[in-house]
Amino acid sequence: MSGSLLIDLIVFGLTGLGIFFSLLRFLLGPSSFERLMAVDMMNVMVIGLVSLIAYIFKNNMYMDIAILYGLLSFIETIVFARYLENQAVNNAESKSVDGDVK
């Protein structure tokens, strides 16, 4: 019993360190792409953490929460990435239009 508790502490500690490093990269990332990447990685780690919580609390509903969280985080990542990509394309088009006017 105590051995399994120790293993649970080690597992949660390692996952928490991973999430902490990802949060650090989110806070001091130079560009917005690295912040987006850090948020995406944090979401995937939180999925694993929720499935661990499902084992600890012996409740099957947490697996549903993990799957739904993964779906929403995937949509969020796609939407933000497409937003940044379209921003780049619009900047290039506006620059070319300015060059034509000049």
Partner: protein, 120 residues
């Protein structure tokens, strides 16, 4: 006896997944470049989520169906998200590190732009 083997295998897989999460965070913090950071973190978190979900499903067989569903879902969505992010960064001309030698995607984009100009 089968319970003991089940617990050993499940805890080993779960601890291995947590170790992969730790390595993903470390690679996210220490790699020199956007592309290498995304490489390290995406692969490590995909493998870590596979391992953690499979370990939880082995430890408690009532969770095995949803754990396999979670594994299939991660295997479908995580490479797509990584690919979309890296395409957005490449179109925004995020610089690569000095040690980068090969840029295979540059020829794809230049041929696409030339084809569009020729078509016009």
């Amino acid at each position: 006896m089968t319970g003991l083997i089940q617990q050993i295998v499940g805890y080993t897989l779960t601890a291995l997944g947590a170790l992969f999460y730790f390595y993903a965070g470390l690679g996210l913090l220490r790699m020199p470049d956007f592309y290498t950071k995304l490489q390290a973190s995406t692969k490590a978190t995909t493998l870590g989520t596979f391992s953690v979900a499979l370990g939880v499903g082995i430890l408690n067989p009532a969770f095995l169906g949803k754990a396999l569903l979670l594994i299939a879902f991660i295997a479908l969505t995580n490479p797509v998200a990584s690919s979309v992010m890296i395409r957005a960064a490449y179109k925004n001309k995020v610089p690569a590190c000095k040690e980068t030698v090969v840029d295979e995607i540059a020829s794809v984009y230049t041929t696409q732009e030339n084809g569009g100009e020729n078509h016009e």
